[in-house]
Subunit: 121 residues, 4 copies
Amino acid sequence: MEKTLNISMWQKRLEDFAKERDWDQFHNPKNLAMALSVESSELVEIFQWLSSEQSENLDEKSLENTTHEMADILLYLIRLSSKLNIDLEDALEKKFEINKSKYPVELARGTAKKYSELKSE
Amino acid sequence: MEKTLNISMWQKRLEDFAKERDWDQFHNPKNLAMALSVESSELVEIFQWLSSEQSENLDEKSLENTTHEMADILLYLIRLSSKLNIDLEDALEKKFEINKSKYPVELARGTAKKYSELKSE
Amino acid sequence: MEKTLNISMWQKRLEDFAKERDWDQFHNPKNLAMALSVESSELVEIFQWLSSEQSENLDEKSLENTTHEMADILLYLIRLSSKLNIDLEDALEKKFEINKSKYPVELARGTAKKYSELKSE
Amino acid sequence: MEKTLNISMWQKRLEDFAKERDWDQFHNPKNLAMALSVESSELVEIFQWLSSEQSENLDEKSLENTTHEMADILLYLIRLSSKLNIDLEDALEKKFEINKSKYPVELARGTAKKYSELKSE
C-alpha cells in the first residue's frame, strides 16, 4: 500500500497548535531551526554508544524513542516549511537532482567521500 | 491545492540511489542519524548570526540554501524510516497526540517553558 | 610535561579578535551557542561514515581536520565563558562531581545506560 | 588573577573515570564526537526560545544549566584530545592563526559573512 503524507493538513494542524498556545512569538525561522537541530541530537543520543550492528537491531524501547524523535524532527520541518512558504515536495525533487549530479554512480560507488573530494581524484 | 508527499516513492528512490552507489554498507541507522544531525546543523549555520527579524526576511540566496538543507534533512529522515521500517504518518499522529497532552493549552499559553516545568507551577 | 591552558589569555585574545572586527553585535550567548553546536557537527561530519575502528586510526588529513574542529569548539567555549563570566575550571570541578555521583562505579560498570535508567534496575 | 586549566590533570582524571567504569569500549573517537555534539545541543536547547537580549540576561537557573552543559562539552573535548593524542593549546594557536587570515580585519569588520563569501566582494 502506498504511503503518502498530507503536508497541507499537517501544516494547518501545526499552525493551529501554535496559535492556540500563542507560540507564534517564539516560532521564527531562527528558533525553529535551532529546535529542529536539538531534536535531531536527541535522535543521535539514542545511537551514540551503540555499535553499528546494534543500531540495526534496536530493542522495542529504543525503536519507540527513535520513532518519537523522528516525528519531532518532521513536525519542526513541516512547521518551518509553513513559515517560509517552502514546498517540500519540490525541494526534494530539486535537491535529489543535485545529489545525483554531485555523486555520479561511476565516481561514488563504494566510497563515502564527500563530493568535493570525488572530483579531485 | 493540497500538497501531499509520496513517502513510498521517495523511500524507493533513495533505496535505489544507495544501491547503485553501493552505499548500504555506510547507511546503518547510527550513521544515518549522525548524517541527519549534520544536515540540521547546516540549516542552523544559515541562521546563526541573523537576528530573529532577519530570519523572517531571508534574501533569495539564504532561502534557497534553507530549502536545500531542509530537503537533505527530509531525505535522510525518509531513508532512516525505510531502514527501520517506521511509518512516518503514524509516527506524526502519535507524537502529535503526545505533544498536545504535554502542552495543554491552558498551561502552555504564551510560555516557552518545557513541559517538565509546566507541571510544577 | 604538564600541559596547561591559559584561559585568561585566550579570553582576552578572543575579545580583541571580536572587537577589531566589530563582532560583539553578533556574539550574544544565543548565537555563540548555535555557532558552537555547528562546529561540533563539523566534527561529527568527519566521523559519520567511518566505522568505530576507522575512527581510532585516522589518516593524517582527517586527524588535522579533527584538530581544527576541536579548536573551533574550544574557541567558542572560551568566548562564551568570557561573555557569561563563567569560570571553566570551577565548572569542570562541579560537573565532574555530579557525573561521579550520577554514575557510581558499581552501577555504571560496563554499561552505557543513561543515569536515569541506572537507578531503576 | 590568571585562570589556567590543567589539561594533563583532567585528561588523567577522565581516563581513570572511564577505566573504573569499563567505558573504554564505548569511548572511540566516533562515539565521543557524537556525545560532544549531543551536549552542545543541550546547550542550544537552553537558548532556543530566548531572544538575543534574554540570552544576555540569564536567570540563575539557566546560567547554572549553561555552566553544566559547557562543562560537559569541555570534558568530552578533553577526553577526545586524550584519545587522539591532540595538544589542545597547540591546536588553538594554529586555528587562531587560520581564523585571523580567513577573516582579515579590513574585510570582516562589521559583517557576519562567511570567509568564503568575503573574498568574492
